[in-house]
Symmetry: C2
Subunit: 293 residues, 2 copies
């Protein structure tokens, strides 16, 4: 069994991006600039945004931080998005979710110019991805594909089972794995809360991608000997074995599943560190005009 080290790959890709940015600057181009809109002062959201901004700076990007109180109107945010859409100094724009209830997330996402939608949430990017056209790919699925690429995990013709059909993980994951590409070309089965015989279906998977949002849902009997298991889950559970009194667990019962796998992602340190990578890559591609002119 080999552990897939998301932290190590994260560092590798970041170093590559940083190098590319310095080359851009040496060639007289401006640094990529990512704008981040944060509404309210939810602790988790602030932490995520802080971490994204810091990582941007690590690789030599500039950032434009825009913070609004919980009481901001939808129209104010829409106006700011319009302004950024037209600002040639800014390459990418993300709005941290969730938003307060009086602001429509769908409306906000669709207001962002798809050419600056480096989260890959706009319907144009989702649609182009589904159609196999160049697009900004969503963070978690693209991060997982990058892990397969870096570990030379062969996906062609493999039986890949995706647990979960969310718009941000399961559904795009199934699209990326089934398309004509490398990694890709897998036979993909997408399962969800209404699926029957889940155990049986999972046990046939050469590659099992779990994004079902239930702590330690996947047990050893659901995993085929030699399978590749990717765990997207992240749950904070009480523990008397850690100083903090907490421990992070995934959607997979790691202790009993790991020994059956050829490869497995741990939690933490597997998929988690990869989600930022797609944001960086998309922003770099935006600054270079490589997806859209």
């Amino acid at each position: 069994m080999e552990l897939i080290d998301g932290k190590k790959i994260n560092a590798e890709v970041k170093a590559e991006i940083a190098k590319e940015v310095e080359e851009m600057v040496a060639n007289g181009m401006k640094r990529p600039n990512l704008a981040v809109i944060l509404v309210g002062d939810d602790g988790a959201s602030s932490t995520y945004v802080g971490s994204k901004v810091k990582t941007c700076h690590d690789v030599g990007f500039e950032s434009t931080d825009l913070k609004y109180p919980e009481t901001v109107t939808e129209q104010e945010i829409l106006d700011k998005i319009e302004e950024i859409n037209n600002d040639s100094q800014i390459d990418g724009l993300i709005v941290q979710l969730p938003l307060p209830k009086h602001i429509s997330e769908d409306k906000i996402i669709e207001a962002i110019d798809y050419k600056k939608d480096v989260d890959g949430f706009h319907p144009v990017n989702t649609g182009r991805m589904a159609m196999g056209l160049p697009a900004y790919l969503p963070a978690t699925p693209a991060g997982i594909v990058e892990l397969f690429r870096r570990y030379n995990i062969d996906t062609e013709g493999k039986n890949c089972v995706v647990l979960g059909r969310s718009n941000i993980v399961g559904t795009p994951m199934s699209l990326l794995m089934s398309r004509k590409a490398k990694p890709g070309n897998a036979t993909v089965t997408i399962c969800h809360s209404r699926s029957k015989n889940l155990n049986e279906i999972c046990a046939q998977a050469d590659i099992l991608i779990v994004a079902i949002g239930q702590c330690e849902f996947v047990t050893a009997d659901m995993v085929k000997e030699g399978a590749v298991v990717v765990d997207v889950g992240m749950h904070r559970v009480k523990s008397d074995k850690t100083k903090s009194g907490w421990k992070l667990k995934g959607d997979v019962k790691f202790d009993e599943v790991a020994e059956k796998c050829s490869y497995i992602t741990p939690v933490p340190g597997g998929v988690g560190p990869m989600t930022i990578i797609s944001l960086l890559k998309n922003t770099l591609l935006a600054a270079q005009g490589k997806i859209y002119k």
Copy 2:
């Protein structure tokens, strides 16, 4: 075994749409108007366009036929699309494919205002469909979903296998079958040319949707007893048993597969007659402003 009668459902839905149009007109609304762009004089394309226009008239729609010689430039078509995008009298616009090689199909499709894209080919409609948002659905997958609806075929929790991953049939079909909807909520496996153990996978399907483009590819040993089989294929093969010397066949070896099925679509008369239905429905929805304002 029950034969799924696409011709009968086609007539039913058309009658419903015609009734709705007359109600719209009685209420002082204008008739839905579909614009159709045809380039060149390929016989098959002309026949398809002629049939679409005739069906529009059958249900009380108006149509705007725009024909161009093979030598028309890409820019001329783009200019016309721009004009139609801004013409409030026209509700829907389709461009018959394929186009001559000097015209980019992707560019043409993306130039159509997605609010008038009643073929459901624009990335915004593909993306919104993938995200479960209201959208114009592509013809063949939407037609198949309509057949399931009209025949009360239960899809929830069923094992659905889709053979083929094309942008116009296989991929959107897999999205519609896996989404949270009725019909929908199936566990979907999407297979393609790189898939292995196809026979085994198909033999596990409660619902088998075949869009692989190979004549009589699916044989009886690939089908589970009691399965629902949907055949998207259409092949003209020589026959000494018909007056014309030709016979239409599908991707499924009908004669040996039919007896194992609970339901099966014949070729012709199954999926074929349903593909026009989605175009009519989308154009009606466009005229009513029910998907986009």
